[in-house]
């Protein structure tokens, strides 16, 4: 299915709008080639979910998404019997004077409600199965997932064992809210997404919000990167937020940052009120703006980025 080389996959990912480095492309490539699940971790909004989505586009195949949440169980994830329909059937049988209800007739395929995991197993083609935010599930369900990912078969007591026709491409994402088990980690190819550096963010912005224009995009990337290096922030702005911010600025018809448009759009970049207050009172909008202006020119920029990296701010992506 994947006849691409690494550079070709890299190009295909970018063509589909996913900007990444060679390293990320290699990691994704290996997951595909080794037939192992890809576990993507990183802070919120750095593009984890997008990996699964873009893969289905690159591979031109279906995307089956299992959105995880606390309390998710096999009924919602794998399959469920259509209880109402079963009851109905029983009722009908009774009324027609059937003495005993034949159990097997109640557990036929027509009463089976397929949920994402079963759908992925029974798909005719090799689909992409995105198990999103799998850190949200409880431990027993994680154990169940782990087993499912090992052999891609499930046994349904009433129907017997179902085995995948095509092993799906599995992408798991996690925000690290709960530590995933070592077993699950060991089974996966691991991709850690960090906040992007300025250059990469520029490219992402160009791919997603080209209408913002070169100059504004650069300023957005610089200010976002600068804010990420501020240790006191409660929540560092993610890619999702820099994109939102860019769109907001475009809506204001801005071509470059000014103190004014910064003032009106800061809440798009920093969603947390405390963080906004911190920036307004402690750092100051003017200073924020200035820092990005200084940065725009030549060697100073590099120096500043070095300093920011040393401070543990924007690490390599």
């Amino acid at each position: 299915m994947l006849d691409l080389s690494i550079p070709e996959l890299h190009k295909a990912l970018e063509r589909e709008g996913y900007i990444c480095d060679l390293e990320q492309a290699v990691t994704i490539y290996l997951a595909l080639k080794l037939g192992k699940p890809l576990l993507v971790e990183g802070a919120p909004g750095v593009g984890k979910t997008e990996v699964g989505k873009v893969l289905s586009r690159v591979l031109q195949t279906g995307l089956i998404r299992l959105q995880c949440y606390e309390g998710l169980d096999e009924n919602k994830a794998l399959y469920e019997w259509n209880y109402q329909r079963q009851l109905l059937k029983i009722q009908v049988l009774k009324e027609t004077g059937c003495a005993a209800v034949d159990e097997t007739s109640l557990f036929g395929p027509e009463y089976l409600l397929e949920r994402p995991l079963l759908k992925a197993i029974r798909a005719d083609r090799r689909v992409v199965l995105l198990i999103d935010e799998c850190d949200k599930v409880d431990e027993p369900f994680e154990a169940f997932l782990f087993e499912l990912l090992s052999d891609f078969q499930v046994s349904i007591p009433e129907l017997g064992t179902l085995t995948a026709r095509q092993i799906p491409v599995v992408v798991l994402t996690s925000n690290g809210e709960r530590e995933l088990s070592d077993g699950l980690r060991r089974r996966c190819v691991y991709l850690y997404l960090d906040y992007p550096g300025v250059e990469k963010e520029v490219r992402i912005l160009q791919a997603r919000v080209p209408e913002a224009g070169e100059k504004l995009i650069r300023q957005i990337a610089l200010v976002t990167g600068y804010l990420r290096s501020q240790a006191e922030l409660k929540k560092r702005p993610s890619i999702a937020e820099s994109l939102d911010w860019a769109r907001a600025l475009v809506a204001l018809n801005a071509h470059c940052l000014t103190e004014e448009n910064l003032h009106f759009t800061l809440n798009m970049l920093l969603k947390n009120q405390e963080d906004q207050d911190l920036v307004r009172s402690k750092i100051g909008l003017a200073a924020l703006l200035n820092s990005c202006r200084e940065n725009e020119t030549g060697p100073q920029e590099a120096g500043r980025r070095e300093a920011c990296r040393a401070a543990g701010g924007c690490r390599r992506a």
Binding site: I6, L22, E23, Q24, V26, T27, Y29, L30, A31, K33, L34, K36, L39, E41, E70, G71, N75, E80, W81, Y83, Q86, L87, I90, Q91, K94, V101, E103, L106, D138, G176, E177, R178, E179, D182, R185, R186, C188, V189, Y190, L191, Y192, A231, E232, R309, A310, A311, G312, R315
Partner: protein, 448 residues
């Protein structure tokens, strides 16, 4: 695909060994996966090799800096490796010279009493080593001390001086132990190159792994921010584990249906989903005596973080006796104020240690907390008077509670010189001298 050159499998095996020595856990299966992966990439492209090994061997973000440094070192050219060894040898030589010089210097100071010092108080090589590693300021202080003793009209000043100096050096050795523990790993060139986790770590991340005793004042704001972030994240995780248990019992429809088939589908017998375990009650007992004060400050800061993020932890501090400090955490003020309260209100800060007395007080006044749902977290370097009695009493209490977990700021390598063994009979003891340890133990070892 499987017929790769044998050098490659050897290189991977060696590299995995380096990672393991640096504290990264890598399984055999993962090693095999890495080996398989290399068949799919361009081996001449360093970036691809790096990405492949990282993707298959490193599954925790906190191990990434270690990987980066290890990779850079491992895949060095021959000359670069030589250079590294040469530097290491030079360091060793310089150290020997320093040792000799220090020996001479001290011998001169002791010279007036040379004949009076009994054999057992003569400085050992270990004492000298400790001396050379002291900060210059401390060296000077010790030398001045010795000089002042001259003309001191005590009976046998020589013995007194030697004892004082030796006691001081022993005290210092305890703080320097960690570095020695590391050097053990460095001591043999067969190890390919010196391996120690700190060696590889990114300076930006050092603070997470830094020994809490050595945190400098200028690092405090950074520490505070880091502790706040770690504890908030941890509290979020911990609370998830048990949140569900508060829900009412949920009907398991599938099992109910199956159960009731024989009644023609009328749900006569209901089936429920299993219940979850009850959340344990955490009780912290933290040593704040002189040798622990600096360290405990951070532990309490961490506990404060957990508390303010909603994790209730009954907290006590002790040195000569025990005091309950939970109310300080509950006042919901910021940390600086809380810490000041703790220091002002507690009479325990910076005293000597009597863990036995502290436990006695605990048993007498907080009897209710000694219950089957309690998990005790003891923070201490185990240096206490009456440690035998203390261990006995703790053993009794341990039988009545769910678990006793002991966080020891002394690295495990140094436990043999302490009464640690006695306490380990009734408590799970972990070395815990950095934020990294602290967070990890709370995350992995402490229920609830």
């Amino acid at each position: 695909m499987q017929n790769q050159a044998p050098e490659i499998s050897l290189a991977i095996a060696q590299f995995v060994r380096v990672l393991r020595l640096s504290g990264v856990r890598v399984s055999v299966a993962e090693t095999m996966d890495a080996y398989r992966a290399l068949a799919w990439i361009d081996l001449l492209d360093r970036r691809q090799v790096r990405a492949a090994l990282q993707a298959l061997l490193i599954k925790n973000p906190s191990d990434r800096p270690v990987f980066d440094r290890a990779f850079d070192l491992f895949f060095l050219s021959g000359e670069a490796k030589e250079e590294l060894f040469a530097r290491w040898r030079r360091q060793k030589e310089a150290e020997e010279q320093k040792l000799a010089a220090a020996g001479q210097e001290l011998a001169q100071l002791f010279q007036p009493w040379e004949d009076y010092i009994p054999e057992k108080y003569r400085l050992t090589r270990e004492n000298l080593q400790t001396f050379t590693r002291l900060p210059a300021r401390e060296q000077k202080r010790l030398k001045e001390l010795i000089a002042q003793m001259r003309g001191n009209p005590v009976n046998n000043p020589g013995e007194l001086v030697a004892r004082v100096v030796q006691a001081a050096l022993n005290y210092w050795r305890y703080y320097l132990l960690k570095r020695e523990a590391e050097e053990k790993e460095v001591s043999s060139p067969e190890d390919l190159f010196p391996v120690s986790a700190d060696f590889y770590r990114d300076p930006g991340e050092q603070i997470l792994y830094a020994d809490l005793q050595n945190i400098q004042d200028e690092q405090l704001p950074k520490m505070t921010a880091l502790i706040r972030r770690l504890s908030a994240r941890l509290a979020r995780r911990l609370s998830r584990r048990y949140r569900q248990s508060r829900r009412s019992r949920a009907i398991d429809f599938r099992r109910t249906i199956r159960q009731n088939i024989r009644f023609g589908g009328t749900p006569l017998e209901l089936r429920y989903r299993g219940r979850r375990p009850k959340r344990p009650r955490l009780v912290l007992i933290c040593d704040v005596s002189a040798s622990m004060a600096r360290y405990s400050r951070f532990v309490l800061q961490f506990i404060y973080g957990l508390n303010s993020a909603g994790q209730k932890i009954e907290s006590f501090v002790f040195s000569e006796d025990l005091e309950r400090v939970t109310p300080c955490f509950e006042r919901r003020r910021d940390f600086a104020a809380t810490m000041t309260d703790l220091m002002n209100e507690s009479r325990q800060w910076g005293q000597t240690t009597n863990f036995y007395l502290a436990l006695e007080t605990f048993r007498r006044e907080y009897k209710k907390l000694i219950a089957p749902d309690a998990v005790f977290i003891i923070v201490s370097d185990t240096r206490t008077v009456c440690w035998e009695q203390a261990a006995g009493l703790l053993g009794e209490m341990a039988r009545k509670v769910r678990d006793v977990i002991w966080l020891n700021p002394v690295p495990a390598a140094g436990w043999s010189g302490l009464p640690a063994a006695a306490f380990r009979k009734c408590a799970q003891m972990y070395e815990c001298y950095s934020l990294y340890h602290l967070e990890k133990i709370f995350r992995k070892k402490i229920p609830g």
